[in-house]
């Protein structure tokens, strides 16, 4: 028994829970739709507001109709009463209370228009007659005349009239009482009451009320439909504009809106189109301009090469014969010239490289290589520089080969750049180089423990000619373009080059490359933030190379 109750309760609870879930889901969906759709919002608010207005209007109208009906009824009733009172006055003006026959005859005349026609009932009484309480027509009960009306009439001066609303009750087993208007007047010793049943009026009011309700509902629905239609007409172009703007934002500058008519929406479309055209022009101009600039840089680089070669030959000669100069200052100048010329050459080479990238002329010369070999060679190349700086390079290489299709020259250049940067900013601390691979990608991370990067610098390090500290002495001949070129190279592989850093904790650069050239990179086998470095919170999120 108990178990069954429990089960029933559980079932009920479950059912209730399901219902609640459904309701919640539906309401959630509704809320989402409500937030997303202007049309729904406009229609709902129109429905709501117009329903309120129609309801107020309906109540007002009903009151008007009802009071008009009642006013008419009361007016007619009072006229009827006046006529009746005049008749009573005429017939019974100076009668004595014994003359009951004449009272009866008077009622006979007054009754003529009462009864089945349903117009009214009459009740007359002689206040001086002790043995009976007057006459009533048809089935009317004398209690239908409310006591308050009788009291009012008794206290009022002679000849006054009064009216009230009450319930008319009837003799007979199955005749229900009904609402009625009761007017009464007094003349001499006689009180005369006319009782008008209001069922006809009630029926009229009910009918009017029903019609009003129907009309109101139709009206509200009509308004909602109109609102829906109107908002549709407005919302559709707005949606089209939104889609157009989206496509425009996605770079499809040739996207245009269709212009129809001459209304506000057509103006919007035209403005949008103008804007898009303008934007396209400006972007085109800018592209042209940067093209010109790139061309200029490339040309300048090329043009500089020939004189530079000549200068180089001259400088080499000067350098080789520096010991022959008398003035040691001249010898030092020749050395300086030599070193600056080297710097100038590498700068020129970088400029040429980057202009090739900008011009889209850079191509990938991919071959399958073991990343470990590449890393080892690059580390070997900078070993001397590191030792000079007092840094030790720690290698963390996996046991198995990490094969990937890469352009050896470019990856070597990237590695060299990263390692040189690490040595340069490593403050003599250890430099950790780790390699990892998974099914799709290989990654190399270069970690230093130098000054690190300030927030925001992780992005800026890849900007051209950016320097962490402009005042910092430069021991190696960085051109300021190395990381930019490295990044371009990584992107050429379809890979990422990312930087992490924290002030005081050093920094880490991670190169991630797909194993197969041209494949899309989804993740990296190495974390960008080195394990155990600072707090777990990275200062900036992973930056996709493509952005």
């Amino acid at each position: 028994m108990n178990a069954r109750v429990d089960r029933a309760r559980r079932l009920a609870r479950r059912g209730l829970g399901a219902v609640r879930r459904v309701v919640r889901r539906a309401s959630g969906r509704g809320y989402t739709r409500w937030r997303r759709s202007i049309q729904l919002r406009v229609v709902t608010s129109t429905l709501f507001i117009s329903a309120i207005v129609v309801a107020i209007l309906g109540v007002f109208l009903m009151q008007q109709v009802s009071s008009a009906l009642m006013d008419g009824k009361v007016k007619a009733a009072r006229l009827q009463l006046d006529e009746g009172l005049a008749q009573v006055q005429r017939d019974l003006g100076n009668t004595t209370s014994e003359d009951g026959v004449r009272l009866s005859n008077t009622v006979d005349r007054l009754k003529a228009r009462s009864g089945p026609s349903g117009l009214y009932e009459v009740y007359i009484r002689d206040t001086t007659e002790p043995y009976f309480d007057g006459y009533a027509t048809n089935e009317l009960r004398e209690e239908s005349v409310p006591r308050r009306l009788r009291d009012e009439l008794r206290q009022a001066p002679a000849g006054s009239r009064a009216y009230t609303y009450g319930k008319l009750s009837y003799i007979g087993p199955d005749r229900p009482s009904e609402r009625g208007l009761i007017v009464g007047g007094r003349t001499g010793q006689f009180e005369l009451y006319y009782l008008f049943p209001l069922d006809q009026e009630q029926r009229t009011l009910t009918n009017v009320g029903r019609s009003l309700a129907g009309v109101g509902v139709v009206l509200v629905l009509l308004l909602a439909a109109i609102a829906s239609l109107v908002t549709r007409q407005v919302v559709i172009p707005v949606r089209l504009a939104a889609q157009g703007a989206q496509r425009l934002a996605a770079g499809r500058l040739e996207e245009r809106m269709r212009v129809r008519g001459e209304d506000d929406l057509a103006r919007l479309a035209r403005s949008f189109n103008d804007m898009a055209a303008n934007l396209q022009d400006k972007i085109g101009e800018l592209e042209d301009l940067s093209q010109v600039q790139r061309q200029f840089v490339s040309d300048v680089s090329h043009e500089l090469r020939t004189p530079l070669t000549t200068i180089r030959i001259a400088a080499d000669m000067l350098y080789e014969s520096r010991d022959t100069f008398h003035d040691p200052a001249v010898g030092r100048s020749a050395e300086l010239l030599q070193s600056q010329l080297e710097r100038f050459e590498s700068l020129l080479a970088d400029l040429l490289e980057i202009s090739r990238h900008d011009a889209g002329a850079a191509t990938l010369d991919a071959e399958s290589l073991d990343m470990r070999d590449l890393v080892l060679r690059a580390v070997g190349d900078i070993q001397e520089l590191a030792e000079r700086k007092g840094s030790k390079v720690v290698l963390q290489l996996p046991g198995e080969p990490c094969m990937a299709e890469v352009d050896r020259r470019r990856v070597e250049r990237i590695m060299r750049n990263l390692l040189v940067n690490a040595v340069e900013h490593g403050e003599g601390e250890d430099i950790v180089v780790s390699v990892a691979a998974d099914r799709d990608a290989v990654a190399v991370a270069v970690r230093d423990h130098g000054v690190g990067l300030k927030p925001g610098e992780g992005q800026m390090v890849f900007d051209r000619f950016w320097r962490a500290d402009p005042a910092r002495a430069r021991t190696t001949g960085g051109t300021g373009l190395g990381l930019s070129i490295s990044r371009e190279d990584a992107q050429l592989h379809g890979g990422w080059l990312q930087a992490w850093g924290e002030p005081g904790s050093g920094s880490q650069f991670r190169l991630s490359l797909p194993r197969v050239g041209g494949a899309e990179l989804r993740g990296s086998p190495l974390p960008l933030v080195p394990p155990g470095a600072g707090d777990a919170r990275p200062l900036f999120a992973e930056l996709e190379a493509g952005e």
Binding site: P116, Y131, F132, N138, I171, G172
Partner: protein, 592 residues
């Protein structure tokens, strides 16, 4: 146009349209309706007296006055009136009470004797008649004298312990009370020809319009009143009652559900009786008959029958509305039909010169009186110059009333002296015989007309110096002998009457003098006893005879500036139309 102004404009437009429609029409086509049947309906408005409960301070005489007033109120089965009675008194007049009708409200009751807790109160008045429990009114004028016994209750209140009269549940009402609280309604029973219905007027208290149909059917099932008992028959087998005790009405269709005994009766004849009885109520337009809960339909009719069916059983005969020409006696001495105000001769010779001629309903024979009214003559056929032969000759000093045919071809005539009268009847081909029982044997009878139903007769009889219109009935006594009697006065408004004719089954056309008239004038007199209506306006000279038939104009034979004229109304059917007398003739009469 934005989304907000459009709905507002639509709303404004709709309101404008709506208010534009809400106008009282100021023109349009003419709507016609059927004329309301303005016959006196049983369920016309009525007036009820509102009784008061006995007051504690009232003495014995006041208690009696209050009781008499309260007994005129039938509300709630005389609940208020019963409060005047002592605890042990079981007094229930019910819906079919026996009533003693007094002329007017009584003189104040006199306390004859008071001793301790007992009192005797005496009331005196003029009784004018009684109504028996079957609703039959009988005129019986005599002084009334009754005593009430009263006793004090332990609370010190006076209450009535004994009522006057031997009938313990009778009511003592004034004429006004009866007129107010009771209605005359017709019950319909079959006449001796088993086809024509005969109305039987009864007094029924109007307690509640809703219960009227039930009361009517109850009364009908109870059979004819003592007045018509033996003269008519009912198609309902004895013992038939209403199932569930009430007639139910749904919209305007009434359902009469009878108990199983009704299976023994003819559905058609019962339907005819019920139809004619129920049609007096305006709210019932159709009805259906059930026996033991099972709907039965008369042959050839739907189960739901209109109340206006069964015209073939009409009290005025099956063809009351067909056109018939009146017969008049032209001044040139011939009996002719009246066509377009002109008399066309039909019978010439001696038979054409008879006084008060009456053509038989089958047009086979005509009867008339000799010039002095001392002989009854008949002639046949009703064309050419037939010989008139005397069938009856009056006693010395007596004369005959105008001959009257009943529908079965019987000729009726009353021979009357100043203090004596005899009724003669003659069936076709037989010799005239005297009726065995004649209720007005000791009176002078001025006119005698058999109604078209063949059961009721209307007479003008001289009583207490006044010529009164009375209604009697033709019955057959146990031994088969004819009994014409039970005459009742119809109306007391006419002072003097000269001649009468049946206009239809409910109305007599009477030449007579009302209270303020200086000369005799035509009146329509409802048989039910309600007020008379004068007929037509204008000079009529000295009217002498009157003829009437259903749907035909009322004709009056008059003497205008020394010449005999037959007058009719310019527009028949309009009771205020003026009289014109275009035909020089006398003694008009309708055969049917």
């Amino acid at each position: 146009m934005n989304g907000r102004t459009r709905p507002a404009l639509a709303l404004a437009a709709i309101i404008t349209v709506l208010t534009g429609c809400a106008n009282v029409p100021s023109g349009g086509r003419v709507v016609t309706g059927k004329p309301a049947e303005r016959a006196e309906r049983v369920d016309d408005p009525y007036v009820r007296l509102i009784p008061v409960k006995p007051r504690p301070e009232w003495g014995p005489d006041q208690i009696v006055t209050g009781f008499l007033a309260a007994s005129a109120s039938f509300d709630d089965d005389h609940r208020v009136a019963r409060e005047y009675l002592g605890r042990q008194k079981d007094w229930r007049p019910g819906l079919r009470p026996s009533v003693t009708v007094l002329q007017s409200r009584l003189a104040p009751p006199q306390v004859v004797k008071t001793s301790g807790g007992q009192a005797t109160v005496r009331i005196i008045g003029d009784q004018i008649g009684t109504i028996s429990t079957d609703g039959q009114y009988t005129a019986a004028a005599k002084p009334y004298d009754g005593t009430f016994q009263l006793a004090r209750t332990p609370q010190g209140l006076w209450r009535i312990t004994d009522l006057p009269g031997e009938d313990d549940s009778g009511l003592l009402l004034s004429k006004d009370d009866v007129e107010r609280a009771m209605r005359t309604v017709n019950l319909y029973f079959f006449g001796p020809d088993r086809r024509t219905l005969v109305p039987n007027g009864i007094f029924l208290p109007v307690v509640n319009r809703q219960t009227l149909p039930t009361q009517l059917v109850h009364a009908l099932l109870a059979g004819p009143t003592s007045w018509l008992n033996g003269a008519v028959e009912s198609a309902f087998p004895s013992g038939t009652r209403l199932r569930n005790g009430a007639v139910t009405i749904d919209k305007d269709v009434a359902t009469v559900d009878l108990t199983g005994q009704a299976r023994g009766g003819s559905v058609e004849r019962m339907s005819a009786q019920l139809s004619w009885t129920l049609r007096q109520l305006s709210e019932i337009k159709q009805w259906r008959l059930r026996i033991d809960g099972e709907t039965v339909a008369p042959e050839g009719m739907d189960a739901v029958q209109p109340v206006n069916a069964w015209a073939g059983n009409a009290p005025d005969g099956p063809d009351p509305q067909i056109h018939q020409d009146a017969y008049v006696v032209g001044t040139a001495g011939f009996l002719g039909t009246l066509e377009n105000s002109r008399a066309q001769p039909v019978v010439n010779g001696a038979a054409g010169r008879l006084s008060r001629p009456a053509v038989a309903p089958d047009y086979q024979e005509l009867a008339g009186l000799s010039a002095n009214g001392g002989q009854v003559l008949v002639a046949a056929p009703v064309t050419g110059t037939p010989a008139a032969r005397a069938i009856l000759t009056a006693h010395a000093g007596a004369r005959f009333t105008a001959p009257s045919w009943s529908r079965d071809g019987t000729l009726w005539v009353v021979e009357s002296k100043a203090d004596e009268s005899w009724l003669w009847l003659r069936q076709r081909g037989k010799a005239p015989v005297r009726a065995a029982h004649w209720g007005l044997g000791g009176r002078e009878v001025l006119a005698f007309r058999v109604a078209r139903d063949g059961v009721r007769v209307a007479v003008i009889v001289r009583m207490e110096g006044r010529a009164q219109v009375q209604i009697g009935r033709i019955a057959h006594a146990q031994d088969g002998s004819l009994d014409v009697g039970s005459f009742l006065p119809v109306n007391s408004e006419l002072q003097d009457a000269i001649d009468l004719a049946w206009r239809d089954y409910g109305t007599l056309a009477v030449l007579g003098r009302a209270r303020r008239d200086s000369q005799s004038l035509p009146y329509l007199m409802p048989v039910s006893g309600s007020g008379i209506m004068s007929l037509g306006v204008g000079a009529l000279g000295e009217p002498r005879t009157i003829a009437a038939a259903p749907g035909a104009p009322v004709l009056i034979g008059t003497r205008l500036s020394g010449r005999d004229q037959v007058c009719r109304q310019r527009q028949a059917g309009n009771s205020f139309s003026e009289w014109i007398c275009p035909t020089p003739a006398r003694d008009p009469g309708y055969p049917r």
